[in-house]
Assembly symmetry: C2
Homo-oligomer: 209 residues x 2
């Protein structure tokens, strides 16, 4: 089973690496990290780089395409070389998946028209412009397209997908292998649970919005 993760400059590394740790453990999984051009793809702040081992032109048809998000996703939506590739590859995937604002890239590729989808709270309005219906859920499946909320939600999504691909027992074992029994120290992971000041900080205030 070929799994391709689309990497890019300004990506949010956890969007890719969370699902990687789940899907990469599936029996028979072959993961490749690909980008417009091969080489290091840096996070928005520049301090962490994932290496894309392949250029998109080198990637055979993947069974699963995963598009992470991040501040760089906006630029990617305007890169027709990338969006054309996404649209073409999507025709033959088993599953096409986005994490966070990776959904915008799927939208720009025409993949989301008429579908129920989700994305990071920051992009819930923007995603509607691609003909999709934004749904306030952490993980949304519609046909063979799976979208999920911001950044950390990719782990939840990937475990659901793992169960579909290899059965619940295997997915449960992977959840144990990565010891995913979360104990978030705060309850602020959803917009409606954060206060106004925290919302403002999350939107505008931190180093890497």
């Amino acid at each position: 089973m070929e799994i391709t993760i689309l990497a890019f400059e300004g990506m949010t590394p956890l969007d890719a690496v969370g699902p990687f740790e789940v899907l990469g453990r599936l029996p028979g999984a072959q993961v490749s990290i690909a980008a417009r051009e091969s080489g290091p793809q840096r996070s928005a702040g520049g301090s962490l780089a994932l290496l894309a081992d392949y250029a998109l032109t080198e990637v055979a048809q993947p069974d699963i395409l995963l598009v992470p998000g991040g501040p760089g996703a906006d630029a990617l939506t305007k890169d027709t070389q990338v969006t054309d590739w996404v649209g073409r590859v999507h025709e033959k995937t088993l599953w096409t998946v986005s994490v966070c604002t990776g959904a915008l890239v799927l939208g720009a590729a025409g993949v989301l028209r008429g579908l129920r989808v989700t994305t990071h709270w920051r992009a819930m309005n923007a995603i509607s412009s691609y003909g999709a219906e934004a749904v306030d859920k952490r993980v949304v499946l519609d046909g063979k397209v799976i979208t999920c909320a911001g950044v950390s939600s990719g782990i939840d999504m990937a475990l659901q997908l793992a169960a579909k691909l290899s059965g619940e027992e295997t997915a449960r074992a992977i959840q144990l292998a990565i010891e995913y029994a979360p104990e978030p120290p705060f309850d602020s992971g959803r917009m409606e649970r954060a206060n106004e000041r925290e919302q403002k900080l999350a939107r505008y205030g931190l180093n890497q919005p």
Copy 2:
């Protein structure tokens, strides 16, 4: 605030990238990825590489040292060039932190003697050989040393540390920025919640144990 993440061959990328997404957003944080030698550091299966921008010899004294785990951690415990560096740097850190079996590297560096610590369930026995007391908790603080459980626990740990470094409001805002409101699809993230077959799969059966 200088944060150094020690990367290595055979690391588990999520151990590093989970905390990176939290700590890297702190106001004033400067994250550097460093390894014995600079260059790509691959996951155990080889399919995902984080780029180490620095060799250890190029790293100035970090305020926070973070050591991720992974199957490659065992080899690292025997690499005295690395463990000597960890021990020396630890003397002047504000916080020395491990995720998963990164605790074994701290142990080999002599950092854990007499401390209460935790690690991946796989290494709970091994960690005791370094003079540490293994505690069955997701995140354990003892003095300036923080250890946490397997892989995904680094996110919980880093949010706790973020609150100590920059206050609870900032930490809560970061939790919102990464939309960390987990919805694990199963309850198998802890050994005692998984059945015998799932435990066996997690220990021996998957691609990348």
